[in-house]
Assembly symmetry: C2
Homo-oligomer: 188 residues x 2
């Protein structure tokens, strides 16, 4: 029997992504979001949502670019911090000792230490309400060599991404491999 728990932003899984942008002075900023997802296969696109009040929001509007940086579990403390203070007031990369690297494809920095990053060119801006959704075309994906699998692309078990749980306000790692996709159904 289902119980109503109200009109809330509860769904699983949602990501822990660090958005990289440049401010008007060219200083790199990073901010953590949980509202986002892949939104198109061709062209490859990702969407992320930010409140208008955030420093990153203005940066994306100005530069028409952002990066999506996927932290591994070992960087959860930094990623959590990046979501709790504003880049207007603090040099978040500087405080954590992490490094912003200028993308050679878009006008945004990526986090050198994170295992997987997406370089995005802004192609759509949708005003929804408290949040604005930015859709970015993925111009390239870059990954650390040590998270690549046998197929030459990444392996989630090596990336070790983080999952945000909006219901309990907690972070989780990925768990066990359940099955290959597009095959479990065929066993029916």
């Amino acid at each position: 029997m289902k119980r109503s728990i109200g009109a809330k932003t509860i769904a699983h899984p949602v990501p822990v992504w660090v958005i990289g942008t440049y401010d008007p002075e060219g200083k790199p900023n990073v901010a953590t979001v949980a509202w986002g997802g892949i939104c198109c296969s061709s062209p490859p696109c990702v969407s992320i949502s930010l409140r208008k009040a955030t420093y990153s929001h203005g940066n994306i509007v100005n530069k028409k670019a952002f990066t999506v940086n996927v932290p591994s579990e070992k960087y959860i403390r930094e990623a959590d911090y990046f979501g709790t203070v504003s880049g207007r007031n603090e040099d978040k990369l500087g405080k954590t000792g992490l490094t912003g690297v200028k993308s050679d494809l878009v006008d945004a920095p990526y986090v050198k230490e994170f295992p997987l990053i997406l370089e995005c060119k802004l192609i759509h801006t949708i005003e929804i309400g408290l949040h604005t959704e930015f859709i970015g075309e993925i111009m390239d994906v870059k990954a650390e060599e040590d998270v690549l699998g046998k197929n030459g692309i990444t392996d989630i078990e090596k990336v070790r991404p983080v999952i945000f749980a909006p219901d309990t306000s907690s972070y989780y790692g990925i768990g066990k491999n359940l099955s290959k996709a597009f095959s479990a159904g065929k066993k029916r």
Copy 2:
């Protein structure tokens, strides 16, 4: 050192969500998507993307409504199957013995057996490319009693959602609790 792996739809984590819709004859259909995410806190909204060729795409355009159904690990086989065939050709709910329940808030059915469901009213349609992104306002969230936590809302550890890995085309469960959010950073 980062290596380019090309402009691909690789990010982690991405969800395994089953979208519920009614066709023009009022027959419930379900289709699995991995492209989607929460996109606004107020009003609470979720976005999902579908190819124009899918049966669900037309159903959402017609009915201006859909549900997002979060399968638990035990329904991974059904969720995988729902993503591999079209509702034009098969009665997917009938074949799996799962049940479509009419929402009393929006013109779409939800999956009775899944632990967590979101009832959504279509408020934005964005043509991106191969995929169309549908943004739905979350009118209500409903959950099975046995996945509720002490706070009266859901607990991800009881929901046991599934994560899709686009790089290795595999499904994963959630893993260990890493930390509370908005606190790890304060320990710095």
